[in-house]
Symmetry: C2
Subunit: 144 residues, 2 copies
DNA sequence: CTGAATCCTCGTAGATACTG
DNA sequence: CAGTATCTACGAGGATTCAG
């Protein structure tokens, strides 16, 4: 599977990102037309990425996800799952067992975001040390 | 050009992302050890990504960035720039002109995040339509 | 021009309790 | 088990004003 996707991976050169930015400018920088604001804000919120990752391997039930992300409240879990479902990134499957059980799964669209998301996560992981160092330096040279 | 970078791009198979997630679990899911929470939350906030992109082509002055992102307040611009500087993603250069001018530039570390960021932005752009459709379907079938 | 300082508001998210 | 309902608190972020 890692092979299968290798060929698919869209090449996105950085200069093009800057050019895109220039283009958004021409439309008055309408928030609705700007994917950075419209989507990245959303998947960048406090719980979304974590939930997507927790569903990467297999579908999971509500309580299973909650166990995987211990400090999320039921309220935020419910809400974030619903937003994700609304955006078509996950699907919701209800099984009419005695105590009802509900399983959430990534949709194909949801699975497709794991690649770019992984890029960012692994960037964060590999640069984490550098960032911490920079913070320490900054805090040291900046008067409280 | 989509070809040129193909060789450079780190392949990050999705299964590995899920495995990483499993590992974080073992450490009690400490927020400090979790790059998703520690870093992605930060670059995923309201203005950070936009500012990074606006500096992608060249260093820019405070007021220039503000023009590029019309609806950011001076307060948030100052604050986000300072956080970015603290994290070592941008550098700050003061020129002692008559009215002082300050230019912000991406550091090598800052430039390095543009690649994964671009992946996500272009994902957002290419899937934007799908997401909007999903939203409409969801809202239509869901009783207000 | 590039901020710093203050005040104020609004939304997000946590806590708690309840339900099918 | 998988939510819903309500209340509250906190903090991000906007507006405004001042300063080097």
């Amino acid at each position: 599977m890692t092979r299968a996707l290798a060929g698919n991976l869209l090449q996105v050169p950085v200069p093009e990102l800057a050019d895109r930015f220039d283009e958004w400018q021409k439309f008055g920088f309408d928030a609705a037309r700007c994917p950075v604001r419209n989507v990245l804000d959303h998947i960048g919120d406090k719980w979304t990425a974590l939930i997507l990752i927790s569903l990467a391997k297999e579908g999971r039930r509500f309580s299973a996800v909650q166990r995987l992300i211990p400090d999320i409240s039921k309220k935020m879990l419910t809400q974030t799952l619903r937003d994700l479902e609304r955006d078509g990134l996950i699907t919701r499957h209800v099984f009419p067992t005695k105590p009802p059980s509900v399983e959430y799964r990534l949709s194909p669209l949801g699975r497709s975001v794991l690649d770019p998301l992984a890029q960012l996560v692994f960037w964060a992981e590999s640069r984490h040390g550098e960032i911490e160092d920079a913070r320490r330096r900054f805090d040291a040279s900046s008067p409280a």
